[in-house]
Amino acid sequence: MYALLLCLSFSSLSAQSLLQHVPQDASFVFTLNPDHLNKKIPLVKLKEYNIYQMAMSQLAQNAGQQVVEMIEDPGKYGLDLMSASHVFGKVLDEDGGILMGVAFQLSDAAKFRQAISDQLGTTLETEKRGDFEVFSMGSSGALAWNNNKAIVAGGEARGQNPTQEWMNTVLNGNKGNSISTNAKYSRALKGKTSDASLWMDYGAFATMYSQMGMGMMPADQRMIMEMMMGMYEGMHIAAHMNFDQGAMRVNYETFVNDELSKIFQGMTNASFNQKFAQYIPKNNLMAYINFNYNLEEMVNGTRSLMEPMLNQIPEYGPMINDAMDIIGIAVDEQALYNLWSGDMFLGVTGMRDFKKTITTYDYDEEFNRIEVEREVEEKLPEFTMMMSYSNEADVMKFVKLGLHSPYLESKGAYYQINVPDMPMDAFMAMKDGVFFITNNQDFIENKLSAGFGKGERISKEHLDRIQKSAQVVYWDVPNTVGVMEKLEGMNEGPMKEVMDASKKSVKSMILKADKAKGDVFSQEFSINFMDGGANSLDQLFSYLDKVMKTMMGTSM
């Protein structure tokens, strides 16, 4: 137990020791933690897959055989690739330059030194700085190493030459000036370990990109741009990637400033319209997108953010605000929000046959090639879209406009949408505050009055996810494949193999965004695999192996 604690402490200290070389004002830090992943899936197992062999072969072609050997046998080169390593950088506002750094662990400094010397084909000329041996690469950077770690620092900066200063800061590795003391970084990463993570000062990048284009702009436009960039001030993001048992997850957190925080909170201050649930079927739900946003709060929040900014632009700002006030006289904003509150559910519930006429070629009975018009059945996704409205009388004003045009036709309880050259029939309906658009005739004719039966409705699992989230994008892979393989040509030959592999491997893909909590807006993307007990990276490699084998032929 003592040994274990000692090891854990040492590992943590090593990580801290590397992080101290990442300066406090770094704009981004990417951390790779193979050891964290290796505890979940022995990485050596992945070498058995053809896809790994192929990737290494590509790498050998693009980067050279030695790079492959470094990955395959890092110990030979004195590298410790299992411990965490960091790639970091700092963007320079003024000239659009970027300074970079890499920090990684060594297992054997002598072997590392020899490998560098072999790579350069010359005797290394280095200088000592503390316990570091430093190899200078001129003004563009330096490589330094001591007994257990190596640091690369460099970059390009136009105008001034802050590279040397950057290299000094990185190599010196002052604990008190490291990224660990950056409040934003610490908050975003605190208590979170992952296979890989990225932290980025979004405000710094936004400023850099805006500065790059601003030089050419007239002064007033530059002012508007600066104002827009000000919105992102203080904003930073963190992403964590983990290959867990049964699922690969990427979690994003966006930390926003006070102004944006109010907008995000207002925008996500909305609930799922429970009436939607009865119209979403449990079966054949191939994919859906749902968002619950509060349009009124989003517009009001954006306006309250923009108005003071606009007032600071003497040329246009007050004039735009005045114009908005005048538009406000003519437009009843509340009435607009009553037309659509800001939510939507779009579900794909299968593939349907739609008839269309195409011009093609055929042979007559004497085998003359002739042009023929043929009615063909085309499979298109069957969808239903729902949105909430609260003022039916106002919505009906738009419907009446449609009815007085050739594009909308009343069919009793619903309306048929007639758009020329549309490859399918589409329908529109309104019921109890829900506005429908669908191409599912059976749904519009038979399900509109009471929806699906209780046992046929969307599952509780989906409903819980939708209710708790501001936005969900869901894709059911086996269900989709099940429908797709009924299409012509999809259930034979190599396509069948791809279909089978997909169906047996991947369960679903989900992107969900939480409601904003304070100044944090969280999102999660996950690929969920069939075997909940096996590591997702293992399953991903196995799946890609099967698909690549089919795609590349048996020669792979």
Partner: protein, 226 residues
Amino acid sequence: MKRLIRTLLVLCLPLLLTNCFEVTEAINMKADGSGDLLVTIDMSASKDNLKAYLQMDKVQGMEVPSVTEMKKEVETVRQTISKIKGMSNVKTSTDFDEFVFTLSGDFDRVKTLNKAINAVADELNRTPLPTLKKDNFKFKDNEFRRLFRYGPDLKLSKEEFEELNFSARYVMETAKYVSVYRFQQPIKRVSNNKAQVSPSKKAVKLENSIAELIRGESSIENTIEF
């Protein structure tokens, strides 16, 4: 050579033809041995993809020729055939909306047609290897023959075919080669059992997938007696 074929198939077919296409050779033979030829390359089923490719400079690392370059190439083919003594009325058409291309012309005898095909093959040969010149058609007395022989290296075994990538296999499975020959006299017999004879007995059609031809499972070779 097999390696070359495989490489060409793997590289070119997925690049150019992401869906099915059809090549038709139609020959109207007269009793005196003269006739006319119409070759149609119909890529209309892939037109959306092909239009998208034309907007790009490169696809999968290979340069995409411009419409002007392709029209120039077609014109070169027309001029090459026009120069062959005995070929007349040679025309080409290019339709870059539907992606249907045609080549037509009259020939005074089948030997002239063979000469024209070999001249085009030579003109289009971009390899350092000499063009393999051979007869494609024979006409003698009451017999018309479509010749087609693979060199021993040109055919892929089923296993070798399976080694090709998915896109190449898919394209070849869906692509068709159609030959239609018409005669003034009624047809008495055809050697290729996949060939269909028209109700008037004066036309014969043979349809094969490119994959079947590559694997050697079928042939466009046919002897028509009339």
